[in-house]
Amino acid sequence: MSEYMQAYQVKRVLTHNPGLKSFRFDRVIEAEPGQFVLVWLPGVDEKPFALSGVFEHEIEITVKAVGPFTSQFMNVQPGDWVGLRGPFGTGFQPIEGMVLIGGGIGNAPLRYLAQCLREEKLVFRWVIGVKTAEDLAFREELESMPECIIVSEDGSIGKKGRAVDVLASMNDNEPIIVLAASGPEPMLLAVHGFANTFSPDIPVQLSFERYMKCAVGLCGQCCLDGTGLRICVEGPVLSGHQLQGVTEWDRPHRGPSGRRPQD
């Protein structure tokens, strides 16, 4: 697998619920956790997805139906051909003592990061935040992992609350030395804000999302205002340092035309 398009047959589909599924392909890739692949659904579109798992013989993406592309993806069956290229961008760097924090479908790439941490025998903790129990993929697997703390906004699974709100008490328990986060942007910025309340601040690795066309640093769609950093090349995983100078956090993201929806 490379930046060139290659089609692969879907090997297995794992249905978490009708709008949340994982898709496995024959293993074709060496990738860091947090790196992404472009996924082409012929006749529909092509979108970036971070890998949720890399196994001996298979790779996996986890898709939640949120728009036209991901909704159509729910119809993909074993044996269907799907185009894949990548991996692209930067990944998370596994570190001893790392605290993972995920929001919703953002937990998918953290599952692969957790897998890497376990394989490297590194100690970690993982705060899994979801809106409601239905949003949790791999529920049985995650509930049985001693490293995981599951929280939901409606209290339908785990403690009621938001993932970020758990960080302070976790830190009281055992000081957090490094954070890896993936999820909605307000959550990422809240994690960054939390890390910055310490002196020196806690190092963070944050995974961002932007609309993109090329994934190879060319089209400019995913460039951040203020610094011009490309989410597809210098990201998607950025350090706190790389967030300095970015001026677009409070603005709607650029769409396919390059225009931001009216602020």
Binding site: G83, K213, C219, Q221, R230, S257
Partner: protein, 307 residues
């Protein structure tokens, strides 16, 4: 120390002959500024039209081993947003910025030109040669010398003293004839060439063309010889300065373009094949190339292959 790389392009002073080509890192002031800081002599913004366009779905940009096939479909935020980005860029950078425009009709070209001139770009590049919107725009304007001449004349009349460049395509009977039409109607510069083709890549398992638009323009190292030949032919036909564009990745490629007759040289797809460092890398390699041969100015090389 003399800057051997300095060039004068239609009155615009460039610290390097390298011009970021349109369509690459060109949507925002911040991305253009980043390229400017990395050593581009000038930067070209993404082509914009009167209205916002979403362009084609993806895959729209496809690496294939010898360059890229792309069919972005003139996606752009519309001229109003682009004016704002250009103004922001000009507040932050002294590097000349070139606006790029397109229209569906001759009138629309003139109208977008008049609007974009409000942002006071160093130059307005007129993209008459996008190959990827055939279904909607009909045959590319660039194949018809009379039509390109008409667009040139109309745009020229709407941008006061801002230099204009016509971005031409090889999809025509004679690019030299099209260039003459530009020169006769008030063009200051020619940019050549746009992506070539269109071409198509079909996935053998999916059994469909991979690009959502089915076909798209070819760019990158595969088209360098075509671009060099086009620059050569244009240089034989007109005396206008040329931004030689197409497949340039190295200092030697730049020298080829200049020897064929280019004054400045566009760099686009190389941002993918060589990374953003391509600008500083070419600059330093070109400096060494010239120093070793005792060449103090690129103008000494311009068109020198024509004997």
């Amino acid at each position: 120390m003399i800057n051997r790389l300095h060039v004068n392009l239609a009155g615009i002073e460039l610290a390097s002959p390298l011009v970021l080509a349109s369509g690459v890192m060109g949507l925002s002031a911040s991305s253009l500024e980043r390229v400017a800081e990395l050593g581009a002599g000038a930067v070209t913004a993404k082509s914009c039209g009167l209205e916002e366009r979403k362009g084609h779905p993806c895959p729209a940009i496809l690496p294939f081993g010898f360059g890229l096939l792309n069919a972005v479909g003139l996606a752009n935020p519309g001229v109003d947003d682009m004016i704002a980005e250009l103004r922001t860029f000009r507040l932050q950078s002294d590097v000349p910025v070139i606006a790029s425009i397109f229209g569906k009709t001759v009138d629309e070209f003139a109208e977008v030109a008049a609007r974009i001139a409000e942002a006071q770009p160093a130059m307005v590049e007129v993209n008459v040669s996008c190959p990827n919107v055939a279904a909607e725009f009909g045959r590319s304007f660039a194949s018809d010398p009379a039509l390109v001449g008409e667009i040139t004349r109309r745009v020229r009349g709407r941008v006061s003293d801002i230099p204009i460049s016509l971005k031409l395509s090889l999809q025509c009977m004679s690019i030299a004839e099209v260039a003459k039409a530009c020169a006769d109607n008030g063009a200051d510069v020619i940019t050549a060439i746009n992506s070539v083709g269109p071409g198509m890549i079909i996935d053998p398992n999916v059994r469909r063309p991979v690009l959502a638009n089915r076909m798209g323009g070819l760019s990158g190292p595969a088209i360098l010889p075509l671009a060099v030949r086009a620059v050569w032919e244009i240089a034989e036909a007109v005396s206008l300065p040329i931004i030689g564009t197409g497949g340039v990745e190295t200092a030697e490629d730049v020298v080829q373009m200049v020897l064929a007759g280019a004054t400045a040289v566009g760099v686009g797809t190389a941002v993918y094949t060589r990374g953003l460092e391509v600008f500083s890398n070419i600059n330093s390699d070109l400096h060494v190339f010239m120093q070793e041969r005792g060449i103090t100015s690129l103008s000494d090389l311009k068109g020198a292959a024509h004997v």
